[in-house]
Symmetry: C2
Subunit: 96 residues, 2 copies
């Protein structure tokens, strides 16, 4: 069953370019390495430029868990830390 995540990420004001460069690197790595991933899209809020979400859909729970354990997630994810303002809020879903 398809499962999803909406991760909400607050960044530090003015760090958009730096943050988005890492976000693009992560999206490229997910698309290249995770056949069980169906959607993985960073998006910037139109009303608050320090707020981003990541829309994520995976073919099944195993594919979602593989994402979190992947080498690219573990190597690229921490590169976002210096531009973030606090921990991401991660919400888990089952697709209808």
């Amino acid at each position: 069953m398809t499962v999803g995540i909406v991760a909400t990420i607050k960044i530090q004001a003015g760090k958009n370019a730096e943050f988005e460069a890492v976000a693009k690197e992560m999206m490229a790595a997910v698309r290249a390495n995770e056949p069980g991933n169906k959607v993985y899209q960073f998006c910037k809020s139109k009303s608050d430029p320090t707020t981003y979400v990541v829309m994520e859909l995976y073919a099944d729970q195993a594919a979602m868990e593989s994402h979190g354990k992947s080498d690219h997630f573990r190597s690229i994810g921490p590169k976002m830390g210096p531009f973030m303002a606090g921990r991401p809020d991660v919400a888990y879903y089952d697709a209808v």
Copy 2:
């Protein structure tokens, strides 16, 4: 430029089956009629069965606006109302 929406919908307790039936009808109509839509997925929260999100991605702003004006959105959308608990929270995004 790709744009997105995350709509958060609270439903009345116990109305999941009725709500999801309409959600499936809406997803099918969007997929059949909106070439500018790239993702349109209702998802149920794993932690709160009365909370849903809709992940939406559109090829451009015009495609997003067409969705809201479409016959299927206007005819199917109101069928969700009797199962909802308040107005949806709709957040707008630009894809990175």
